[in-house]
Subunit: 263 residues, 2 copies
């Protein structure tokens, strides 16, 4: 019988900023005995308005930082980086198990949507057509619309998730889909914070976000018993950082929060 | 009589992104025979949500890039960098003439405001209290209010400068000042694009932005006769870049636009 030394599973999670904390939260909820290392690139958020080259460069830098902790699994918690950098990261780091937020969401939408789906995301995510292409491949009978909604991230970061301004902005982007779609895919980790307002405006829509489907997919890999340990890293201190870190519910012990010029 | 070789004046202008092009535009309008070098840090825009350390680091990097062209004058066209990095840049580069966008705007507001002034800007600019402090120092009798308006930059970058959404967002921030102020200071280079909508909502206010007062202040230094030459540099290609470069009116010959990983 082989006598393997006990090795705690280490999971690295990176995001362009704070939005990915919602993904980390769901991951910790389905895990036990895992060490999580989260990197939020708050010094260069948002990624969704930048060029492919820059998004790939930043994603490589984030991954290299997390590799210092000898992670076994990498989770790309940012939709933009998932859309633009996954293939490059898989080629560059073939020894890493890499998961992204797009595939699990597409699988869920494909099975729950009736006839037509709307996809919203950052300009870079939408321009990549990745959700559209994957969804059409899985379920060619679905009618799929998509649209970049760049105001929603700043709106959420400003703490405006309901009220007149939120409703006007949501109507500005989504009203034309009112009778056109039955399912809305939130293609950005910030958008779940607007879910209640979207439901008030469009109560007949089904709404799917990436965090929960991803967590369900990873669950079988993440259970060893005992407490999770969580370390958080951010490349810059921004206005809502501490507030967000306090508000996000993490299952496990937060062993440290480091903020600074890390990359 | 000394025989000096003819030296063309070189002016470096940097901004966090595209907003500073409005400043460059005004500068070229009051100049002749000047070489302008503009750097927009579109790979890391926006600066206004970042920490002081990061804003200073980025401003040093932008200045060092422009120094490669042996500039004589540096214009900080970004309000956030003006507020946070001017003193450091002056200490680090004592041989450079450095101008920023805050002082000229404060001087104009101080002379045109009747009783009370509202200042809007990015979170970093407002938190620095720089406009408030300078204005109070120049004109202690003025009543001064200030407020961060972080949604306005994304709004402008999304091309929404009038209509229902723009009005709702502007009312969200400014309605409470309706009868409280007589003059509004636009403490961000993006905001002039919303000036017409602000005038429609608050026709009784005087509105001051930084670009024109700065250009008037620099005018005596910038006239040598002949054509201006302009070179534009951007650290990343973003969605509205080419559109903005086309729309901005520059007096002089644009000798080149370079976009890429420059810093």
């Amino acid at each position: 019988m082989e006598n393997k030394p006990f090795h705690t599973l280490k999971v690295g999670v990176f995001d362009s900023g704070l939005g990915g904390l919602t993904v980390l939260s769901e991951l910790t909820k389905v895990s036990s005995g895992v060490k999580f290392f989260y990197l939020g690139d708050t010094a260069r958020v948002p990624y969704g308005i930048r060029s492919d080259e820059t998004i790939i460069k930043y994603s490589l830098e984030c991954t290299r930082f997390l590799l210092k902790f000898e992670i076994d699994i990498l989770v790309i918690a940012c939709n933009t980086a998932s859309a633009k950098a996954t293939e490059v990261l898989k080629k560059e780091f073939p020894f890493l198990k890499i998961f992204e937020v797009i595939t699990p969401a597409v699988e869920v939408v494909s099975s729950v949507a009736k006839r037509s789906v709307g996809i919203i995301g950052t300009p870079a995510t939408v321009k990549s057509n990745i959700y559209l292409t994957r969804l059409k491949a899985l379920n060619p009978s679905l009618e799929v619309f998509q649209k970049p909604t760049p105001l929603l991230v700043p709106l959420v970061e400003e703490g405006i998730t309901d009220g007149k301004v939120a409703f006007e902005v949501l109507k500005y982007y989504l009203w034309e889909w009112k009778e056109k779609i039955d399912t809305l895919l939130l293609g950005c980790t910030h958008y779940p914070l607007l879910e209640n307002s979207i439901k008030k405006l469009f109560p007949h829509w089904g709404i799917v976000n990436s965090a929960k489907p991803l967590a369900q997919k990873l669950k079988p890999l993440l259970n060893f018993g005992g407490k999770n340990e969580i370390r958080l890293y951010f490349t810059d201190k921004t206005a809502f950082l501490e507030d967000m870190v306090k508000r996000v519910s993490l299952k496990g012990e937060v062993k440290g929060v480091e903020i600074g010029n890390l990359l």
